[in-house]
């Protein structure tokens, strides 16, 4: 685990090779995270993987999060592991929702109302896009599919970007925070009293 000064050292070294790639760092609860410009996430991951002295060669997790009121809205998280030193480092790539940017009026909540083109046919200009890291970490393939399935984040260069858990004809990105919960309301007295 790089400590807080170590994290800043890593940031400085990346800054020399890829200026402007690292936007910010965060060190909280013993967890070091590099906040990265989404356009340069691949060079940073490659640097962390291949640089002598770093060697974060194992991608232990790739996932996304939706921070809806915040801007930019999405973040793709990469958790890297150096298995020799048992050190972990997180990389967080911030992604704006392109459907909001051209409107310029804050987050829209009508994700479902937007027409959704099936993957592969449309350049999907409506969806946030980021480079796929399958070329660096082959295990990312299914994890990127899962992120695409639930958040609608398109990974450019992914070999087979389809839904993985939801049915293939499913409409919408269910883990987004503006996606309706689904299910059916149950008339428990608690619900009636508090929400009815």
């Amino acid at each position: 685990m790089p400590d807080a000064p170590g994290l800043e050292l890593i940031r400085g070294e990346i800054e020399q090779d890829h200026p402007g790639a690292v936007v910010d760092t965060s060190f909280a609860q013993e967890r070091a995270v590099l906040v990265v410009d989404a356009a340069q996430v691949l060079p940073v991951l490659r640097w962390l993987r291949d640089s002598p002295g770093q060697g974060y060669r194992f991608l232990s997790s790739l996932h996304a999060a939706d921070y809806l009121p915040a801007e930019p809205r999405f973040a793709v998280h990469y958790e890297l592991l150096n298995r020799d030193r048992v050190e972990r480092i997180g990389v967080k790539a911030l992604l704006a929702d392109p459907a909001v940017g051209d409107q310029g009026e804050g987050p829209r909540t009508d994700t479902l109302a937007r027409p959704q083109a099936p993957p592969g046919q449309d350049p999907q200009s409506d969806l946030p896009q980021i480079d796929s890291c399958v070329s660096l970490f082959p295990t990312a393939e299914f994890q990127e599919r899962e992120v695409f399935d639930f958040f609608g984040i398109v990974f450019r260069g992914h070999p087979d970007l389809r839904r993985i858990l939801m049915p293939e004809d499913y409409v919408g990105w269910p883990q987004r925070r503006d996606f309706p919960m689904g299910g059916e309301p149950v008339t428990f007295t608690y619900n009636e009293r508090n929400y009815g």
Partner: protein
């Protein structure tokens, strides 16, 4: 024992006559209608489908209820069938996800008549705690269910009790038990007057039989 065997042999040969024949028939022969006998045979030789959906499958016939401790074989349902073509009963043991629902429906459609579907546990009956986008809110949204067993998961005894209920249903006895237990005889009309209670000859007949059975 030996004497009875000899009597049976004599009867088959046609040697049994008179009072002896009368007594033998009285002891050995039960008169019933063909439908009742058929229902009795069906209800006591159910082949469940080897099929599990989620955590309720741990208690479904595959594991606990079929094991020697609870022994579903007592009721003639120990022969699990891995093919829906050979199965009589499907037990939905667990939540049905949106992606799984067409598969379950297809399995049900592949089963040959007569067939029965049991929804086991809260999740397959109502969605349970999974009130979200991924789970079907009650399996009766996409297929007919004969019996709902409540519980999360139901105790094996509850599954056995539900199975016995299903047997009674198969035998054509519509007794649901609770009317007699809670003294609710004669209070069914409010449920029959609703918008969904379209009158049907079978329904009326079953209703009359039920009234008769509980002595109303």
């Amino acid at each position: 024992m030996r004497a009875r065997q000899l009597r049976a042999r004599d009867m088959l040969r046609g040697d049994l006559e008179g009072e002896e024949l009368e007594r033998h028939v009285e002891e050995k022969v039960v008169m019933t209608s063909f439908e009742r006998m058929l229902g009795w045979a069906r209800s006591n030789s159910i082949f469940p489908l080897t099929f599990g959906l989620a955590c309720c499958a741990i208690e479904a016939p595959i594991a606990v209820v079929g094991s020697p401790r609870y022994d579903l074989a007592r009721f003639g349902a120990e022969a699990l069938r891995a093919s829906p073509r050979q199965a009589d009963m499907i037990i939905l043991s667990g939540r049905v996800s949106v992606k799984m629902a067409p598969v379950v429906r297809r399995l049900y459609d592949q089963m040959l008549e007569p067939k029965w579907a049991v929804s086991m546990g809260a999740c397959s009956s109502s969605g349970g705690m999974f009130s979200n986008y991924a789970v079907v809110q009650g399996a009766d949204k996409f297929m007919p269910i004969d019996l709902h067993i409540p519980g999360c998961p139901p105790r094996p005894e509850a599954v056995l009790y539900g199975f016995n209920k299903l047997q009674r249903k198969i035998q054509g006895n519509p007794d649901q038990g609770w009317r007699a237990r809670y003294g609710a005889a004669g209070t069914e009309e409010w449920a029959r007057g609703g918008p969904r209670s379209a009158p049907s000859a079978e329904g009326d007949e079953a209703y009359l039989v039920a009234r008769e059975l509980i002595g109303a």
